[in-house]
């Protein structure tokens, strides 16, 4: 497998090149002015303070939610409920911030973020508990529970917590003083970036240096061996799923405090899915989440820039993004395959004996 790990770098480079090349090809086919589109896609996001700042800003939830995906993956659990967890976390963060008495900004932020993480953690932890107690597949339950959560939050945002002063489907905005300070105006880039980067470092330390991370990874790599080593593998179904949900919830809160100040309908807009792609590129390495998120955010902002600035329709841009996503997932396939094989051996080794 070391051969495989040596080959990984090459495969990753190839994927990135292929993703960029296919973006070029699609733009060439569907754009009237290829050169302009190329410029808009690849260069424009970097030329303008506003675009560049927003690009970096959009990395933050990708890193934090991506880490949520990574912790679940590393323990061989799959959290497909990111969308609902982010959305739910964002709503809880907003409501807490709106209802706390004016006071220390830091306290408001801390309480809101904690509440958001707790909300996400509960949603994720529910899937973990279902798997631990009843053997419900967490991949399916996390997706279904999240879909429910999305509908529930939709209702709350457009119903009880609808901002009466707005014509949009949105909650009231939190006080500007409670938000993270902007550091790169006019873009939305805020000090939330620091939290994202610190989270990545902390995630790395937890994964590599702590007993929790070690036991979690051991459970992911070989559950039979983990059991033999006295690790309660049931706990490592519940905890990673709850942690994963909590990080998604936190990502939602960071989006509220960093960029949006409120929750509108469709708030998450696919960040939960993008985080899976980011985590796959980073191969669950928390530090690698930073460049992976940068790459993904760059492609995303390029697509938006093309969509806004040229004749290329939004459908084509969506196709470009889908192709990139597909390529990334394909690269991650050997990894997924190993997970499946590990699942197979697990079944055959302890099936029927437990």
């Amino acid at each position: 497998m070391s051969k495989a790990s040596r080959g990984r770098g090459g495969v990753l480079l190839f994927t990135i090149a292929a993703a960029l090349a296919s973006a070029c090809l699609l733009l060439y086919l569907f754009s009237d002015s290829f050169a302009d589109s190329l410029f808009l896609f690849f260069v424009a996001p970097l030329t303008n303070r506003y675009y560049l700042g927003n690009l970096v800003s959009s990395m933050v939830p990708l890193i934090v939610a991506g880490m949520g995906v990574a912790f679940a993956f590393e323990s061989r659990n799959f959290n497909l409920g990111g969308e609902g967890q982010i959305y739910g976390g964002a709503l809880v963060a907003t409501l807490v911030a709106l209802n706390l008495p004016e006071g220390s900004t830091f306290v408001v932020q801390l309480l809101s973020c904690s509440a958001a993480a707790a909300a996400g953690g509960l949603i994720g932890g529910l899937s973990g508990t279902l798997k631990r107690r009843l053997g419900v597949d967490e991949l399916i339950s996390s997706f279904l529970i999240s879909s429910l959560a999305v509908l529930l939050v939709d209702f709350l945002v457009t119903g009880p917590f609808q901002d009466p002063a707005s014509n949009f489907q949105t909650t009231r905005a939190i006080a500007a003083s409670a938000a993270f300070p902007k550091i790169f105006p006019p873009s939305s880039l805020s000090t939330g970036l620091i939290i994202g980067l610190l989270a990545s470092l902390a995630g790395k330390a937890v994964m590599d240096r702590t007993r929790f991370g070690f036991e979690l990874r051991l459970c992911g790599a070989n559950r039979e061996f983990a059991r033999y080593a006295g690790i309660d593998s049931g706990i490592y179904t519940l905890l990673p799923m709850a942690l994963s949900g909590a990080l998604h919830g936190l990502a939602g809160a960071l989006m509220v405090f960093g960029s949006y100040y409120k929750v509108m309908r469709g708030f998450s807009s696919g960040i939960g899915w993008s985080a899976i792609a980011v985590s796959l590129i980073a191969r669950n390495n928390p530090l690698a989440l930073i460049p992976a998120a940068a790459f993904y955010a760059y492609l995303d902002s390029g697509s938006k820039s093309v969509m806004l600035g040229s004749d290329v329709s939004s459908e084509i841009v969506a196709i470009v993004q889908a192709v990139i996503f597909l390529l990334i997932t394909a690269t991650a396939l050997p990894f997924a395959e190993r997970l499946k094989m590990a699942g197979l051996t697990r079944v055959s080794s302890i099936g029927g004996k437990r």
Binding site: M1, T210, F214, L218, R227, Y228, V347, S349
Partner: protein, 519 residues
């Protein structure tokens, strides 16, 4: 194909910093049984993987009938009719025997749909033609180890392999299964197939091989007609120096002391069909005693292992540890109880192959290596390095376990389990499976040292020689019952134990009456 030759093969593994092969050579002629013999880590498996296209050599050449070829993958090699049966079988558990046999070359309908009936027919035809005896429709996970091996061999034959490479084919088989494998191999040779078997058992070379190639430390020591070299010569060439010592404990076992482990009328029923897997076992093991338990596969040894490991609970009867109820499977305090457990399934239960040696080594005593929950990297590296040195494991602390040879993985597990302080109870399951002679000697020394320090040792093994070498008392299981229990004296012989295992003797001697009368 008339001949295959591998010349000047070099292969370096940078992860462990070792040369697996250096100027290694191998010459095969069609229609022979060729044994490749050597200690663990001598480079046998690597050389065979190169022949099978699974590993690329750093340099050297492969020639078939004098024409140079190069294999980029296993499918390249299989185009030349070369295939390999691995030491750790690769049957797919959810598939039937037939599906496993035709896997990758399934008969199809309209080119896309797998024709299940034709699969079974094709597999059954292959089974009949080569004189095997397995039910093609049986799921692979219900096959015995010997049958799974047959499936692996049939898979190659189904694909018209001319050269079959078998990696340590006998290491997991019982005596009877080995007999049947050997007669199969002789039959295949009659059919004109070429067979390469990797082994470290000299007896087998003399019994089955026409030609033998001896390897040591990655190099080819020489190639000889099997009939022209003596066992002593082979042993000398494999080991470089030294030879097998006599190991029987010379001093009587300490009979005093409270029993460390007691089994009281222990029974285990199969989950679904109420068959008794274990039936009324009673035993006691005292400090400083090695209790050997032997059985043919399928007679309760695996079930007893799971019971002693605390993985399954007995259907009735009791298991006691120092008179108290037996602790749960590896529950955290187990370590502090002082129970060591070397599982027979070293790849799945005993180690984690995608992790490093260090990570595997620290996996049990996490409280010590993660003080306050944070990894003490220095201590972990030191402990792993010391284990590597003490047990002369051919690997570095950062090597991935999957890059280690089977023997080195076992040494790593033993190093972890048998480290100080000496455990009060050792459960050792097939401790020297697949280990070469020098490594096995080394393990025996460790086990005897533990006995002298007062550990109570339960040795579960299907290897009669091992049982006779180490045990103070021997118990034989047959069909889940205690078929006999006797001290390891002059009356304990290979033949005697063999007939107890097979149920041939009606055990008239008072020494061999089942149950716990003399416990």
């Amino acid at each position: 194909m008339k001949s295959i030759s591998l010349e000047k093969i070099d292969k370096f593994f940078s992860s462990s910093g070792t040369w697996a092969n250096r100027k290694a050579e191998l010459h095969l002629s069609a229609g022979e049984i060729h044994a490749v013999i050597g200690e663990n880590g001598a480079g046998k498996t690597t050389l065979m993987r190169i022949l099978a296209g699974l590993t690329k050599p750093d340099s050297g050449s492969i020639a078939i009938d004098g024409r140079a070829v190069s294999f980029r993958s296993a499918s390249d090699a299989s185009r030349f009719g070369i295939g390999m049966v691995h030491q750790h079988f690769m049957t797919i558990p959810g598939f039937s025997a037939a599906e496993n046999i035709v896997f990758g070359g399934e008969p199809r309908r309209c080119g896309i749909f797998i024709d299940r009936k034709a699969c079974v027919d094709a597999a059954a035809k292959a089974i009949a033609r080569f004189g095997f005896s397995i039910d093609p429709e049986k799921p692979a996970d219900e096959l015995t180890v010997g049958e799974r091996q047959q499936v692996e061999i049939l898979r190659l034959l189904y694909r018209d392999c001319e050269v079959l490479i078998l990696d340590e084919p006998t290491s997991v088989l019982t005596e009877q299964e080995i007999r049947s494998l050997f007669s199969t191999l002789r039959g295949l040779k009659e059919e004109g197939k070429t067979i390469v078997i990797i082994t470290h058992k000299i007896r087998e070379v003399k019994e089955i091989a026409d030609t033998v190639t001896v390897m040591r430390d990655g190099e080819t020591v020489g190639e000889f007609p099997a009939s022209a070299v003596s066992e002593q010569d082979l042993s000398g060439m494999m080991m470089g120096s030294g030879s097998l010592r006599e190991h029987r404990p010379r001093f009587p076992a300490a009979t005093g002391g409270e029993p460390v482990l007691e089994l009281e009328n222990l029974s285990l029923q199969a989950r679904h069909h109420g068959v008794a897997l274990l039936d009324g076992l009673s035993l006691a093991v005292r400090p400083g005693e090695i209790r050997g338990l032997c059985a043919l596969s399928g007679n309760g040894l695996t079930e007893l292992e799971d019971l002693l490991a605390g993985i399954v609970k007995p259907s009735s009867g009791r298991l006691r540890f120092f008179g108290a109820p037996y602790p749960r499977f590896r529950s955290a305090p187990w370590r502090f109880h002082g129970i060591a457990y070397v599982p027979s399934d070293r790849m799945r239960r005993g180690s984690c192959d995608s992790r490093t040696v260090t990570e595997n080594f620290i996996a049990l005593d996490r409280a010590a290596f993660f003080p306050r929950g944070i990894l003490d990297g220095e201590a972990a590296r030191k402990a792993a390095s010391a284990a590597i040195r003490d047990f002369s494991i051919k690997a570095g602390p950062e090597s991935l376990v999957e890059e280690l040879s089977g023997g080195n993985i076992q040494k790593m597990i033993l190093a972890r389990e048998l480290s100080d302080p000496p455990p009060a109870l050792c459960i050792l399951c097939e401790p020297t499976w697949g280990l070469d002679r020098a490594s096995a000697e080394f393990v025996y020394d460790r086990i005897l040292a533990l006995r002298e320090k007062g550990s109570a040792i339960v040795l579960l093994s299907s290897d009669i020689d091992e049982i006779l070498t180490l045990s103070d008392r021997i118990a034989v299981l047959r069909k889940g019952r205690l078929a006999g229990s006797l001290p390891n004296g002059p009356e304990a012989t290979r033949e005697g134990l063999g007939s107890l295992m097979l149920g041939l003797s009606a055990s008239p001697s008072p020494l061999a009456i089942g149950g716990g009368s003399n416990e």
